[in-house]
Amino acid sequence: MGLPYLIESLLSIRRPGQGSLVHQGASQTVVNQMPPYTQIVLNVFPFGTDYFDIVYQSYIDPTVVPDVYHGYGQYFGTRMYEGTIAAGFMAYQLESLVFISGAEPAQALIRNNTPVYQYYAGVAFYVAIASEKDYDAILEHLEASGSSGTKQLLDLLSSKKPVGGGV
């Protein structure tokens, strides 16, 4: 599967004569034994000293039994999905642009709606921006490039810049 255009645009931005300003990553979450009729809420932050992360794809592992979990994912101002994690839901990767900073973590909830212990696993793909300086360099690059696609990305990133710094 190809990367979303906006993510490709971000990954193509480089420092003059140096490497990429944006780095790709993947994160896996596993609950080997989720107790019956229990829910957990996970807060998702950038790891370490990362300034800003954007989750752009995620999926529930196909080994998870359908119709077992109720779940949702949300970040500031938006709940992307909520409902039973059914087979049809699990058949596709979820496309998103979830902006995560230290000040604005994302939240995910899963609830085991069955009377037995269950397994859960999910994967999220994201890009990471290491520092506020890099973030500003990206905005400058997008302002200078001026295409309609990068304008959209610039608007999104400008509106999401963490107030008062990152983690």
Binding site: N32, P35, V41, N43, V44, P46, G48, Y126, S159
Partner: protein
């Protein structure tokens, strides 16, 4: 279309369901990769699995 900063913050979800009945210890959540996970639920233990 309203931008994210114009929207009201969603309420934080309750960390544990009222119907939960855990008597056998903590729920272990294993995570890997450069995202950091935390939980408000004291029964949830986050383990980094690099």
């Amino acid at each position: 279309m309203a931008k994210g900063k114009d929207l009201e913050r969603l309420p934080r979800p309750e960390p544990e369901s009222p119907i939960a009945n855990i008597s056998d210890g903590k729920i272990l959540v294993k995570v890997s990769g450069r995202l950091k996970y935390t939980s408000d639920n004291q029964r949830v233990q986050i383990e980094r699995n690099e």
